[in-house]
Symmetry: C2
Subunit: 585 residues, 2 copies
């Protein structure tokens, strides 16, 4: 049982579907890169993921992280793998060249991330959090802080962590209690306890840079009184060398359902020294810069785990003999209809997710680096709309895929030995952290649709309509266009209905938020499939072509239609549910 990165599909997306070389080539930062370079990088990432990270996935799960005397030890092999990861420059691949990064586009980086999540989700979380912290510092911190902290973070010598949640404050960050006091010398005293801090403490890097939300004295109540601070585990001297410890201690680690090789820490800040990032009381705003990137990243966790589950389940199904096939001969179980259905359903939902991740990566590249402000704004808008959809739908479908993988193996899927059940346990958290999928659905329905004044959904509809005019002649592409067109109408009608109802009864209609998000997910997956189907017409890779057309057809026949049911459920309106007293729930 091994993981093999789906390089053929990844290169197909970069080159045939999105032509990333050309479309990002018009941005100065990426003008020098070409598809050969992209292909070579994917190949290196594949080797590292397949040969170094995947073999540590099950052992990491079995061993877990160890907590003793305030120290966290990662499982055997993680330290060496992390060294190798850093030395190969992976931590800086998407980073700003000014601080030592390679400045590769996000459109490529999402695929590298997918492979790492596929091979070893627990491992992936350490660099992924560093990456998120890097982006928040890069976007909001002073030049001094950037010069001091970003280069070692891009090397991976220093890792990053996000300190948001407190025991009483999770989804509702407005009520945090951690406090910051101005020392008057450019530093602040930070006090408080944070929980559920991924990578809050570990033995992989020399230092850990915590981004911590805290309240300054006299700050307004609620989300508008929260500031963001950079708090290193070890203080940094003026010359960038490490100084004394900063009273940032790990109180314990959580024992969890999955991602056991990723440390989830209770962190205590005890008069720790910190630095303000961004403006006073604008901490949530600064944090959300990073959160959107992290949300896409966590979405990709879902895609990666779905892909791995598919690969392991398919390998088993091709070997395992059980029952007879249609000709009465002993069958491998991949010949049985229901096993085929489950495997194909995994792939039919993983592949459009991957395509959407690349599409979103390109939007991020444009949002940050395009010379035309209109393009930047449009890309930011499309990202605002797609981020909650991607985070929640990628992970819901990824979790579904991991469950199908176990089901393909039957009893062998439930025992630890085969590694399939671990994927369920590792995928579960992706539906929860970085904002639960329920919170994502609320964000989509309330902020991105009902209260939106920027026409986000109209813009998405425009993009989809452009592709309805795609020049393609296959029967499957025509069928997709017909279905996508009517699905778009159904979805936008539902959105219009929601907007109308929202003013009078916003709390009620939020009962349909998750269904609305799922409808949106089926819509954009259908859109991605159309793009892929159209691009396949000129593909010369007959194996890839046959495989992708098969999954596209499956999606069209057996998945796309779910959109209607979700739209209908949204329109039921949830009046009765919201009128009940708590006891009656």
């Amino acid at each position: 049982m091994s993981y093999k990165a789906p390089l053929d599909d990844m290169n197909f997306l970069l080159n045939q579907v999105f032509n990333v070389e050309k479309s990002l080539g018009e941005i100065d930062n990426f003008a020098e890169f070409d598809s050969n370079l992209y292909g070579a990088i994917l190949e290196e990432a594949a080797k590292f993921s397949e040969n170094v990270l995947f073999p540590l996935n099950r052992t990491g799960d079995e061993e877990g992280c160890l907590f003793e005397d305030g120290k966290v030890t990662t499982p055997k092999g993680f330290k060496e793998a992390y060294q190798e990861f850093c030395q190969a420059g992976w931590q800086g691949s998407n980073g700003d060249p000014e601080f030592g990064g390679q400045g590769l586009p996000k459109a490529l980086h999402v695929l590298v991330e997918e492979m790492i999540y596929s091979a070893n989700t627990s491992f992936c979380l350490y660099p992924s959090l560093t990456n998120g912290a890097y982006h928040a510092i890069h976007a909001h911190a002073s030049d001094d802080l950037k010069q001091t902290y970003l280069p070692p973070m891009l090397e991976g010598r220093w890792a990053g962590a996000m300190g948001l949640t407190e025991p009483h404050a999770g989804s509702d960050l407005g009520i945090i209690k951690s406090k910051a006091e101005d020392n008057g010398d450019g530093t602040f005293k930070i006090n408080g306890t944070k929980i559920f801090i991924t990578g809050g403490e570990h033995d992989l890097s020399e230092n850990i840079i915590h981004l911590v939300l805290a309240k300054l004295p006299g700050a307004p109540d609620g989300p508008k009184g929260i500031s963001l601070f950079l708090v290193p585990k070890i203080k940094v001297n003026a010359d960038g060398s490490l100084g004394e410890a900063n009273q940032v201690t790990c109180g314990s680690i959580e024992h969890k359902m999955g991602i056991k090789a990723s440390s989830t820490c209770v962190m205590n800040f005890d008069n720790s020294e910190g630095y303000l990032v961004g403006k006073e009381n604008r901490g949530l705003f600064a944090m959300f810069t990073m959160m959107n990137l992290e949300r896409l990243s966590i979405g990709i966790q879902g895609i990666g785990l779905g892909e791995t589950s598919y690969q392991l389940a398919k390998a088993y199904a091709e070997e395992r003999k059980q029952g007879k096939n249609a000709s009465g001969e002993t069958a491998t179980i991949i010949q049985h209809a229901d096993v085929r259905r489950m495997l194909m359903q995994q792939r039919a939902n993983t592949e459009p997710g991957r395509a959407l991740a690349v599409f979103m990566g390109m939007q991020i590249d444009k949002q940050y680096f395009h010379s035309d402000e209109n393009v930047r704004n449009q890309s930011a808008g499309i990202m605002a709309l797609l981020t909650p959809i991607a985070k929640a739908f990628f992970t819901d479908k990824g979790y579904e895929a991991c469950n199908h993988g176990v089901q393909v193996l039957g009893g062998h899927g439930f025992v630890r030995e085969w590694g399939l059940e671990q994927l369920i346990r590792d995928a579960k958290i992706a539906q929860i952290y970085e904002g639960t999928n329920g919170i994502q659905a609320q964000d989509l329905l309330v902020r991105k649709v009902c209260l939106d004044k920027a026409g986000l959904l109209e813009h998405l509809a425009e993009l989809i309509k452009q592709d309805l005019a795609l020049d393609s002649c296959s029967e499957l592409a025509s069928k997709y266009k017909t279905q996508l067109e009517s699905s778009l109408v159904e979805f936008t009608d539902t959105a219009t209905w929601l907007k109308q109802e929202f003013a009078a009864r916003s709390y009620e209609v939020q009962g349909g938020a998750v269904d609305f998000l799922h409808a949106a997910g089926y819509l954009v997956y259908g859109w991605m499939w159309l793009k892929m189907v159209a691009a396949l017409e000129s593909s010369e890779d007959s194996v890839l072509k046959a495989r992708k057309l098969a999954a596209a057809q499956y999606y069209l026949e057996h998945q796309f239609g779910s959109l209607s049911l979700h739209c209908e459920k949204v329109k039921t309106g949830y009046r009765a549910l919201m009128s009940l007293d708590n006891e009656t729930i």
Copy 2:
């Protein structure tokens, strides 16, 4: 966080919905029992489940079973709880009084089982397997074997286990390799290795009675050449006392995703002494007597875990403060629409499952004990049809409910401390063992519908139509009747389509088996809700009434409609999927 048995709902089902006292009262075996007795028994089972079993649930999961030198040690407290279970007579509650059982109806027993699964699924599996083995022996073994083995099994002094699966043979039992040889003295030599044997070895009982499938020399190939043998772990002397060990050894136990306090064993039979149960080569037939009861039992595991997840999640949601409510005040999360939706969805699917379990319990009681052969046959027919639906739909919906429970708690659901994630892990296996849910769906579609000559589905439709004529005047009941009537038409049309297509392309249409089963599940759940809604009209318990009507309304508005989508998916036909070569899957 504690579990409280839903006695109000259970008594409502027994007394108001099904009037079990009256409808089973016409059967001699149950003529003496009344609803006071049933209520008292439920209350005792509740106390035992809440106070003895539930407190051992998390510790059992943390500790797991220990395997050393061929011996299996169950977690701390399990032995004492098992003693108490036996002393209170629970093992024999549903057993034949001729062998020391109490002869209580299955309609009651399903509710007792539910409580035990709710409180501690791992524990429940030990007596549940004994119960299954008891029934197979009772139905098929010689009087001698019955006199020797059944009384201590009904006391729980001897436990039972089922030896079916082998390393290469799971769903396909026709290819097993275990061998039996006639010793010529009424005993047989049994050789072979069985895997995934629940309760194959443990420290709870004095003896373990294995029912083992094996092949006699010269037996026909495939399922028609398999015989069933009773193989005790320790031989039994003529006077019923324990003799020498029978070379039945445990080779190892599995490390699993869940049900960690239930031993899952590799069992080696090495010239072990066994006794034929039933006729030569008719072993699968005898085993299936037990399998249908076990399948219902495993279905109930899904209901029980869904109930527990609901209770724990609701308790958390009533305490946890986060965000604001519609009036702008600090809210407990139960006030948020999406949390309400998840909690209500748990209950909307758990409660009709419980009702169907009682209904099926009554059918079993009639099937075995009714004086009228027609009634016996009709009940057997309805059980044949409902068993795969119950096993798969109860457990799919139970798994969904456990996932919703975790989601309600967010990050706290993912850490072990709160106990919610264990419920997912414990529920997962119920979708797999006793025939995967895919196999159940195939059984329903192929054997119970497409190849059925007994009119099983027509009989179910008759029963449903009778209830469409129920005397009830509430608006909700009317809406249910309308929806149930059209759903029944839609479902039977789909079944008719399947039968027509099946002859020409049976392998293709099996791609829709799981969707067909889910459509059936939504149909019978809607039917059960109608029965409950009608019975509520005369209920005087205002709290129960309000709660159940709320869940009924939720099911009608937000769940019942899923039936159509599943029917549509069945009719897509899966031609394209089945035409692909393996590589393209």
